[in-house]
């Protein structure tokens, strides 16, 4: 390449980066500005000016509140989610590995999974009270189904050629589980884990709105009941932010664990 075309190529790369940055930030900037402008002189109780909301932010979400409300919420979510993940994958692997077991369990599992998770709150409240245990149990009970059922499906659907290859080389038992079955099922398992995450957040918030003495959901409801609208809005924003952050974290983990899967799909898409 000549000197001029090299320079042009370098300039082209810069242009592309700037263009991408523009696309990423343009619409959000427009929306936020529109919100600011539209709500600026607002006297509507329910739609305070964005300026007021943002000003209230540091006042409401102090370090103390982060400790007394945000931390317990997040810990409950993580506790319930982790429990559901472990139980779901373990049980799902067992059920998915044996055709008869799967056939026996299938109708019952399909029914239990069809029950909308929020109804678990009043049920579990019956015997677990209103403490932290209740919330963790609620979250776990709701999150386990997508994980379990997706694990069953993933384990069942191991490619027959792959299974035969493993058999022909004498790979069996725990080595087969760890080296063949679980990796092969992992994309499906991760799909289940992603669904479980959204359900977990919903249950965390609901269980706190329903019966709690602290937590994000509890705090927001308190603001709403006390008509502290701007504070309530900050709570909504925080909840939104939490959802976003967790989703990003999940994607980061998924990209690392399933890097091979994305590469595989990309290569088959390029040359079917």
């Amino acid at each position: 390449m000549t000197g001029t075309s090299l320079r042009r190529a370098g300039a082209g790369a810069w242009r592309r980066v700037l263009l991408r940055l523009l696309f990423t930030l343009a619409l959000p900037a427009v929306l936020v500005t529109a919100w600011w402008v539209a709500s600026d002189g607002s006297t509507n109780v329910y739609w305070p000016p964005l300026r007021t909301i943002l000003k209230a932010f540091p006042d409401v979400w102090t370090g103390e509140r982060l400790r007394t409300d945000v931390r317990p919420s997040v810990l409950r979510l993580l506790g319930g989610y982790a429990t559901a993940a472990v139980v779901g994958v373990a049980l799902g692997t067992v059920i998915g590995s044996y055709r008869r077991v799967r056939a026996v369990c299938e109708p019952v599992l399909e029914f239990l999974r069809a029950v909308p998770p929020p109804v678990l709150v009043p049920v579990i409240m019956l015997f677990a009270g209103i403490g932290d245990t209740m919330k963790v149990v609620v979250i776990a009970s709701g999150c386990v189904w997508p994980v379990l059922l997706n694990t069953v499906e993933g384990v069942r659907a191991v490619d027959p050629v792959m299974a035969e290859t493993a058999r022909s080389y004498g790979i069996s038992g725990p080595a087969r589980l760890r080296g063949v079955v679980l990796p092969s099922a992992s994309p499906q398992i991760f799909a289940g884990l992603r669904q479980a995450l959204s359900i977990g957040i919903i249950l965390m918030v609901i269980s706190e709105m329903f019966a709690a003495s602290n937590g994000l959901g509890f705090t927001i409801v308190q603001f709403q009941r006390g008509f502290a609208i701007a504070d309530m809005w900050t709570g909504i924003l925080v909840l939104g932010l939490l959802g976003f952050v967790l989703s990003v974290l999940f994607q980061v983990v998924e990209r690392r664990v399933l890097g091979w899967y994305h590469g595989l799909r990309a290569s088959t898409r390029r040359s079917p």
């Binding site: 409240m125 019956l126 939104g240 959802g243």
Partner: protein
């Protein structure tokens, strides 16, 4: 083979129900918290005979169906526009990625303030949550359009609308069906949530009432009803999806449950 599986499944179900009968009666769990299957069945019978139950069921289904319909309509329209207008997809990508994971339950306090226990509260939550399911699937579907087909259509002078009808839509349709299935399930969850937490009329509200008045078997009976509802929706959506895909020869390696 099929028959054997069905028989095993039925056996599993029967064992589950039997367990539900035996365990509380044996005192392994408190009967007050977990009534035996027969008591729940009895309460279910009482519910079915109660006209208030059917009103509540109707309210739930109305909220669900209306919310789903609005979400599907809005999702498809938005998805098509974003896909067809040049550059709009890249411009909206970041916004979608940010708004999508926001839990719709965050809007509950807002809904309470704005609409109280009206239907609109329910719709706010349902539409917000289900809309994203549809939109994302439409965008996946558009991504899947065969560029050769698109080029061919363009070279024959087909306008934007014609291309949407003949190239985009048939490719995207299976994805839209998947989106509808996912949205239907999400919609049910949000309807029940809205009724449970906000108190909008419906099955969820009835469950909350049963819980506060300590009518435990009735509560379980209602939960069974929501489960059956969820099951019917799942099965129904899957059947519709399969019918729509029956003619579609593409084997999508998408991981979707």
């Amino acid at each position: 083979m099929r028959g054997a599986n069905l028989a095993l499944g039925a056996a599993g179900l029967a064992a589950f129900l039997a367990l539900g009968e035996a365990v509380p009666r044996l005192g392994l769990v408190k009967e007050a918290y977990f009534p035996p299957t027969s008591r729940i069945a009895g309460a279910l019978g009482d519910e079915l005979a109660d006209s208030a139950f059917w009103t509540a069921l109707g309210d739930t289904l109305t909220g669900w169906a209306l919310g789903l319909a609005i979400a599907v309509g809005a999702g498809i329209v938005a998805g098509v526009i974003v896909s067809v207008v040049p550059h709009l997809r890249e411009a909206t990508a970041s916004t979608i990625e940010f708004l999508r994971p926001i839990p719709s339950v965050a809007l509950i306090p807002l809904a309470v303030l704005l609409y109280g226990t009206e239907l609109r509260s329910v719709l706010l939550l349902v539409v917000y949550a289900s809309f994203w399911q549809i939109l994302i699937q439409v965008l996946y579907g558009v991504q899947d359009v065969d560029p050769v087909a698109e080029e061919t259509a363009r070279s024959y002078g087909l306008g934007t609308w014609a291309r949407v009808r003949h190239v985009l839509w048939p490719t995207a349709l299976p994805y839209v069906m998947t989106g509808v299935r996912l949205a239907a399930a999400v919609a049910l969850i949000l309807v029940i949530t809205a009724e449970l937490v906000i108190g909008a009329p419906g099955l969820g509200a009835r469950i909350a009432v049963a819980q506060t008045s300590q009518a435990v078997p009735e509560m379980y009976a209602l939960i069974v009803v929501t489960g059956v509802l969820g099951l019917l929706i799942n099965v129904g959506a899957r059947t519709v999806e399969r019918r729509a895909l029956a003619w579609h020869q593409s084997v999508r390696g998408e991981v979707a449950v």
